[in-house]
Symmetry: C2
């Protein structure tokens, strides 16, 4: 058998069974696993009598760039973005399965790195990788499906927000987008913390079940940007959401230095939405854009009845208001924003990520 520990062995120089034999010992195990990898299917405990399930896919050059992200980073991200979807229902993760498409020119250590990244991301929650599939292909594709257990809780849906609820957020806002922009302008060393937030996001997984226990009326994972995802929650609930930008002061303060450097490097004076103003307006607008529209931080946005003692690390960031009515400009045509910022229609460069329209 080829020694797969030599870093320079390529995937095409191994067999599928050799590769699986190298990966299997690295995968995380967990208490819910009744039958693990190696049979036609795995068997997982579901003590609640229900299970929660979500799937997310990462595609090379769409979701990560091989020159920036190691296999470990991709494994970490693939796990975390899925684990966040379980947390957003108020559940705790139990198990994952992973379909992996890899080109033959990839080093085997990239693949074992991915397994280590999956394991590291799963370790705190005790979730296990219980199965998978491998195929060759031109581009790396990592499709992860994750399962969770509600522990008797009612699932927290997007559709339960009520007018006068408090809107609360847990996690980072805009860090991932800022880290990506830094990498894109060769400015990574300026703030490695932002870069790391892009490469290996750290969603507040425990906050999901805590929110459910505290009576959250609605919740979702912020994967495509605050405005876009808040709009989804608002529309699902038939309400409006007014956000308080000042609640993100901590994030804005962290991001403005990176925004300044990126603005200077890109030669753009101001993104769309910035108004003529004093020196610093461009970077302030860019930092605000990252907070409002940056994706992939995987924080949690939840609504709670007014007066709820918010569980850590949730912070109030707005309130639930009535859905846009006929009195609002554009409402008749369905164009009235369901999300406002400080009471006004948001001015931002974009409204979040769309895979097909970019």
């Amino acid at each position: 058998m080829t020694d797969l520990n030599e870093g320079r062995v390529l995937v095409r120089e191994t067999s599928e069974e050799e590769l699986l034999a190298a990966i299997f010992p690295l995968l995380p195990t967990g208490a819910a696993t009744l039958v693990g990898p190696g049979d036609d299917s795995a068997v997982v405990s579901a003590p609640d009598g229900r299970f929660v399930v979500s799937t997310d896919v990462l595609v090379e050059r769409r979701h990560f760039r091989p020159e920036w992200s190691t296999g470990y980073d991709v494994g970490w991200r693939a796990a975390m973005q899925n684990l966040a979807d379980i947390a957003a229902m108020g559940a705790r993760p139990t198990s994952l399965v992973v379909s992996l498409v890899i080109p033959g020119h990839l080093p085997v250590e990239w693949v074992t790195g991915l397994a280590r990244g999956l394991a590291a991301a799963c370790a705190p929650s005790g979730a296990a990788v219980v199965g998978g599939d491998l195929s060759s292909g031109d581009d790396v594709v990592v499709a992860v499906t994750v399962h969770g257990d509600l522990g008797g809780r009612a699932p927290v849906l997007r559709s339960g927000a009520q007018v006068s609820d408090v809107v609360a957020h847990a996690g980072r806002r805009g860090w991932s987008a800022a880290g990506l922009a830094l990498l894109d302008h060769d400015l990574g060393p300026l703030d490695q913390g932002l870069v790391d937030a892009y490469l290996r996001p750290e969603p507040p997984l425990d906050a999901g079940p805590a929110a459910a226990d505290s009576g959250a009326t609605a919740m979702l994972d912020l994967s495509d940007g605050l405005l876009r995802d808040a709009g989804r929650l608002a529309r699902a609930s038939g309400v409006g959401i007014d956000l308080d930008l000042g609640a993100f002061r901590g994030d804005l303060d962290r991001l403005v230095v990176a925004a300044s450097a990126v603005s200077a490097a890109s030669g753009t004076l101001a993104p769309a939405g910035a108004e003529p103003g004093p020196a610093g307006a461009a970077e302030t607008a860019l930092a605000r854009d990252w907070v409002l529209t940056g994706g992939e931080d995987h924080g949690l946005l939840a609504t709670f009845p007014a007066g709820t003692a918010l569980p850590e690390p949730f912070r109030a960031v707005g309130r639930v208001v009535a859905a846009p009515s006929a009195g609002v400009p554009g409402a008749a045509e369905g164009r009235a924003p369901s999300v406002t910022v400080d009471g006004a229609a948001p001015r931002a460069h974009g409204v979040g990520w769309d895979h097909f329209r970019g």
Copy 2:
């Protein structure tokens, strides 16, 4: 909104939300779904207190060719190969999630066709598609994860076969490989039934739980070929398997006409393993190769205690024997075959599919 019913609309001319809106109404629904698509995660009933889970990925040009397979065919196949993994544990499917990577130049009707194919394949078992993810990418990739319920049965593993057990098979053998060979030589019209078996396999899904109820000691889905997969079962159980080629007489009779045409078209006189012999030896050898090594029929191979009344449509095709011992040539070097055919080491062109060594 773009009218997605016009066949010539391309994926890149739609938004992700428009595409999802076109797909959602086509997806199969089922009784086990507590929270369906549209939230961060789905919630599925698991009355058994456990769930069975498996994942399989299809990659364009690796697992299907766009010029042969429609979106419907790919959706059908993606569902069926996963459903077969659930059946192979003795379980019944409840739910699927689907991660789909599609290039922008794909017609939207290819994607809606895929949803229809998934739905048609799931209809008999009542399994629902409860979630998914969409991404753009250069090649089509379909990663399906399927879940099943054991209904109180013990899962049937690969590792339980006992010496003197009967080896039984349910489903077709070699049809998919023959159909692929016909397409590859522009001979499809010669036997559309074989071509259909390749494009839209029909695993005997009900046979899995029936085998479990009849006391099957081991079972697996034949995805990579009879010899290769039987070898996996034999090694997992620490036994040997002796197959009776004559038990596949019905399949061989069906395949020999196609084998004759393919042999003539390809100009090869005889595949490896064929001995000099009378006219017809080449096609007989090719048909035998399809039966022994052809993949993707997704029949079930199971072992039962001798004397078991085999549930339909299982047929006895061999017996479990002792693992290769030191007395067998090659055993000392670990090269003794764990699977024999009519008591002898199999002579076949290959031993099944390996994704990386081809």
